[in-house]
Symmetry: C2
Subunit: 357 residues, 2 copies
């Protein structure tokens, strides 16, 4: 078992990573504030892990709420189901919420915790690779709006993050690969050694080798924790974590959050960022190919789905949170492991990249 720390002063918290952590009291009990606990999970995860998780909280007055599974349910209406459960159980402002599931459960539970009675504590127990390496760490919470992803939310840090790598054994291959997209992202942003490690070890990761998983998760969480510690509320360098996301969100939104997983959107987005960076002359075609190759070897999509067009994506990107004064800002590459946030690119090159030219 490995422990990392997200260093945020008073709001610092540990990330526990290892096998068989679920159901063990020592990782969660010290982080519960009072007597009431509400576990939020979904209909896929509940039959697999809810009982085991409840056991870890057996000394508290614990209830649970089971949400429908899927990004299309990450909205204000389903969020209200969490508030319904909390109020029906007379939960007070000392209640601790627990997010047991993937990124959708984590983001919604975190936002429910940020807003219930103007803020209560919560614990993240992510069960997908994507949530383990990305959404459970850093305190970004929220829900989608029909007109844009994650448009409504809050910064709210958890009390701790418990990552049991065994939960990945029940994860579908496609979901595992989608999580690997975010893992690759950390190598591209600022960790070229990790990128090289991934080029060598991606098959071990995909075959769920416990050592490979633990190493990749710990590297990813450490990379993210370092960036979040320096810039909690995305005033500056935290924006680098959005590599591939401006493109990716637009693709996800255009497909109504169905048909394209978040990690798949990000993997296409990273390829588009590589191509735009290449067209700007910032990276060589060899480097761009090296990036696209790792993404394709992982079994992730690298091209915009054929039913979407450049105009549509440009319109959607205009309402992304990264837009400032009408200019779309992208995270682009100067090398593998060196990225910049910029709106200083050629709009024609952008259009060409979106058109596959």
């Amino acid at each position: 078992m490995e422990t990392l720390t997200v260093d945020l002063g008073e709001r610092s918290y540990p990330i526990y990573i290892g096998q068989d952590l679920l159901g063990q009291t020592q990782y969660v009990v010290p982080h519960v504030k009072a007597k009431q606990v509400m576990i939020v999970t979904n209909e896929t995860i509940a039959p697999l892990y809810l009982e085991k998780t409840l056991a870890a909280f057996s000394e508290f007055n614990t209830a649970s709420v089971i949400l429908p599974d899927g990004e299309e349910y990450k909205n204000l209406e389903v969020l209200n189901q969490i508030f319904d459960s909390l109020l029906k159980k007379h939960c007070d402002r000392q209640v601790t919420l627990v997010a047991l599931g993937g990124g959708v459960v984590g983001d919604m539970t975190g936002f429910a915790a940020a807003s219930y009675q103007r803020g209560v504590p919560f614990i993240q127990i992510p069960t997908t690779l994507l949530a383990q390496v990305d959404s459970s760490v850093g305190g970004k919470t929220g829900v989608n709006h029909a007109l844009g992803k994650n448009m409504i939310g809050a910064f709210h840090q958890p009390q701790c993050v418990v990552i049991d790598t065994n939960t990945l054994n029940t994860l579908e291959d496609r979901q595992l690969k989608a999580g690997a997209a975010e893992v690759i992202k950390y190598g591209l942003i600022n960790d070229p050694e990790f990128f090289s490690w991934l080029e060598t070890n991606i098959q071990a990761l995909l075959s769920r080798d416990p050592q490979a998983l633990s190493y990749a998760i710990a590297c990813s969480c450490q990379d993210k924790a370092d960036i979040v510690s320096l810039d909690e509320k995305e005033a500056g360098m935290r924006a680098l974590l959005n590599l591939g996301h401006t493109f990716g969100h637009a693709i996800e939104t255009a497909m109504n959050y169905t048909g394209c997983l978040h990690g798949e959107g990000v993997s296409i987005g990273m390829c588009l960022a590589a191509k735009l960076s290449q067209k700007m002359g910032w990276i060589t075609s060899k480097t761009a190919d090296q990036i696209i190759r790792l993404i394709e070897v992982t079994g992730l999509p690298s091209q915009i789905p054929p039913n979407l067009n450049a105009e549509q994506l440009l319109t959607l990107m205009q309402i992304d949170k990264k837009v400032q004064a009408g200019r779309i800002r992208f995270v682009l590459l100067k090398a593998i492991g060196k990225t910049v946030v910029t709106d200083d690119y050629d709009p024609i090159a952008l259009k060409n990249v979106l058109e596959g030219a």
Copy 2:
């Protein structure tokens, strides 16, 4: 024109109080961050003051959204109308929201600002006495849930508060009196001199004498600002501001937020707090009568509506935010101008007070 300051370090902000402030650029322009402004108001206020307010923001790219008027619309569904407008106008995370209206508009706009893209700035322009002396100052924002008032929200401080006392000239008498309930509250909490001033000057206030209004609003805002500065997130003494509110919220909820204004609920609640304090032997019957007399002279209700019963109110108070470990905590009186937050009262005395015994 008088300027007060809410002292919260980096989040400090001014409150401007005076006649004819609406429509003047100097109070708002320095507090707008970028080019986009979205004014949120309601169908009652829009025809009266929207045009004038728009004029103050004429140098920006300003749009507006008009909500239905009433506490019964202070919910997640109507909140979403604000997000709809922001997204349709492609507002980015530099947008400044402006709350033009009473407490409902202020609370909802503040929560929309806290949550839109995880937080954007906002300005409060309160147009009711209640909003001017209470809800616009201090950063509490939120919406109601069918099972409880203000159960969903955030702490989010405005950039400034602009109080134009002229807006009270179009306020209904009943609304003015409801606001006076919160004014009286400040005297009771920790300002006995202000309470005495109100005993002498309440008729001048109710007849909208500009000097009396400005004095009462400035005293109330200063009293509130002092408490909020010491305890922004209600870890301790800020809870004193809830005098009359635990009773009051239960009465409002029992009446489905219709038929009883917030200030009316609070005025009944303050009378119940006085009676319970008297039954506990903490204040004399003379003091309790003095409190109830000022409330009745103001034209505010002092008794629980006849269609509500003690059991119902006790059940509703159990889900109030002030409950800790199952015990209902009240703000009770030790004297006029001396209050305590306590659960150390006799439950039989509470029941008697609720039964009017």
